[in-house]
Symmetry: C2
Subunit: 359 residues, 2 copies
């Protein structure tokens, strides 16, 4: 018996594999954590061999991260229950569409006081059209608390030891330090806040704004226009959080999950690219989405639609002119030219942060 906390990773895509390197190295050094990390791998056969066997003998995830070696204390399993049974900390890094079924399989099979951490980009669609945050879904399905780690959109940058920042939205005070030490590395700087909803929703909304920035790029609008989209998108994010996730703190928007991820997304993310192609090719979004998006990054257009459903229900479309115009352009309700018109004419004095957060 030991008091050390046991950590497992559920998922084996490139983000899961990248983070497994940090986690594997960190637990090996820790006095507080078990040195072995179980990793649930969706079983596949690669040239006739099981992927789990390949990982456990070569320590290379040949399917998703063939150029990187995993620490040998990360052990692959093809059974999610066996992976998670003894875990005190369950790191979820699977596509958002698999969360429901995965939680159903695990329900009642994990330690009752286990703590989950979602690394999942995306959200679930509520019956009423509202966004359901993935961490909320995990908490509801698995009956345990769930934190989030957001930031560093680009797994290969982290894998290549380029500098990146992450934000941990921690829902359990006593895990704050341990989660920080679990993920941080020399090149991946993590900051922990308890404002978990805000961390997660910021990371979702930025895809809408990045799509807007991509529309501007597609129309060959100038740098000032793009900067205006970023600025107003940031303000609408503040306002959105204030309406739908009240009690959040302004400081959270200045973490990596807020300002940094937004800026990076508006210059380098796939939603930006998708929007640019949408304008330049004139093809329908449904066609381009398949062409451009690899992996499971949530799409700006569907996010914009769900955001719009939430705004419409509260009669708030006019108070979110940027989110609204991006949705309407995606939906074919507005022509592209309305984007610039909105920047030129839409009122914005209604949502200054001084008002919202009562500075």
């Amino acid at each position: 018996m030991t008091d050390r906390l046991n950590v497992c990773i559920i998922g084996s895509g490139n983000w899961a594999t990248t983070i497994a390197r940090n986690v594997g190295n960190n637990v090996a050094r820790s006095q507080l954590l078990e040195p072995k990390v179980n990793m649930y791998v969706y079983e596949e056969y690669i040239d006739g061999r099981k992927l789990t066997d390949i990982i456990n003998t070569t320590h290379i995830n040949v399917k998703y991260m063939p150029d990187y070696v995993l620490p040998s204390n990360v052990v692959a399993y093809d059974d999610v229950v066996a992976t998670a049974r003894d875990a005190d900390i369950l790191i979820f890094a699977i596509p958002p569409t698999f969360v429901n079924s995965c939680c159903k399989t695990l329900l009642g099979k994990v330690k009752p006081m286990a703590h989950a951490v979602s690394l999942i980009k995306g959200f679930e669609h509520g019956d009423d059209g509202q966004i359901i945050l993935i961490s909320h879904l995990i908490m509801r399905q698995l009956k345990i608390s769930c934190s989030v780690l957001v930031g560093c959109n680009l797994a290969h940058e982290l894998a290549n030891n380029h500098f990146a920042e992450g934000t941990i939205g921690c829902r359990d005070q006593k895990h704050m330090r341990i989660l920080h030490d679990l993920f941080q590395s020399e090149t991946f700087r993590c900051v922990v806040t308890d404002d978990a909803d805000c961390v997660e929703i910021c990371s979702t909304l930025r895809n809408v704004i990045a799509f807007g920035a991509g529309l501007a790029d597609g129309m060959d609008l100038n740098e000032n226009t793009k900067a205006s989209i970023i600025r107003r998108g940031f303000l609408e994010t503040l306002q959105f959080v204030d309406v739908f996730y009240p009690g959040s703190r302004l400081a959270t928007f200045f973490e990596s999950c807020g300002l940094s991820d937004l800026v990076t997304s508006c210059y380098a993310n796939r939603n930006r690219k998708l929007a640019e192609a949408f304008v330049k090719t004139g093809k329908p979004l449904s066609e381009l989405e398949h062409m451009l998006i690899v992996g499971h990054e949530p799409l700006g257009p569907i996010t914009a639609e769900m955001v719009n459903i939430m705004l419409k229900k509260k009669g708030l479309e006019e108070k979110f002119p940027l989110f609204t115009v991006i949705y309407r352009i995606c939906a074919g309700i507005y022509p592209l030219s309305r984007l610039l018109e909105t920047l030129r004419f839409a009122r914005e004095d209604i949502y200054h942060p001084n008002h919202i957060f009562q500075l």
Copy 2:
């Protein structure tokens, strides 16, 4: 006799000429403003003809904006006193180094209740090494109040009717509306705030951060690193304003003068380019500055130096790790590698906006 306000422009460079188009068109439509706008032009001979004569006959500033026609109600003068004598609103758009002498010439020759507006990018060097804002200098020298217009770094974008935003920091309540109407056009959206110091200093500090972003570009660091520089630069700007210009409002940082100008500068400004060349060529800054900088955009390195003098005096260098490391790299005190080390290791929890602005 008339109650209409008389407007003049002091300066004839490309920014002065660009804004003269907006001002000329706006006064012509206004019930409150005199339809004629005097413009002070530093006299030069172009192919044997006076520049003022060319402007007044062809309405083209052949020297600085040869591709654009000025409204015919903008009239060029070569005598600054004659230009400004009857003005109620004096728009200053001259290089910062000429402000002192220009104000000396004008002292006692302008209407005692005249109001100045500075469009000047840059600052003056105080005897004690502190930054003196140009609007403060004008107020001190000319004994009249002075507002500022900041934003849209790129005169040619405005001239080409691309979308841009500007922020007016207005020091006189009764001029708020009139200044807005004087500068705004269909493609140039202006927002007025009374937080003039903050507007002006944001516009200065962004050159330091853009220089930092350029260092990262020069070292071929990744998008996440640049986003981190923007994020931390933004936070240090908040903190700097809180220390040196207390009483400013958080909302101001979300105007164009804050977030938009910062982002644009970190992707497109000349300080970014200067820093990139500094890293890639290994040449001393003094050599590159002449090569790269056209016009009078204030330089990141000299700004960083003055910022550092101000911080050092208050013993605050450690609390501004990004500003400090950029200065020290410029000054040759630190090697380039310290930039990334600072991002990785420097504490930042000391300057969260929640603390600074006591949200």
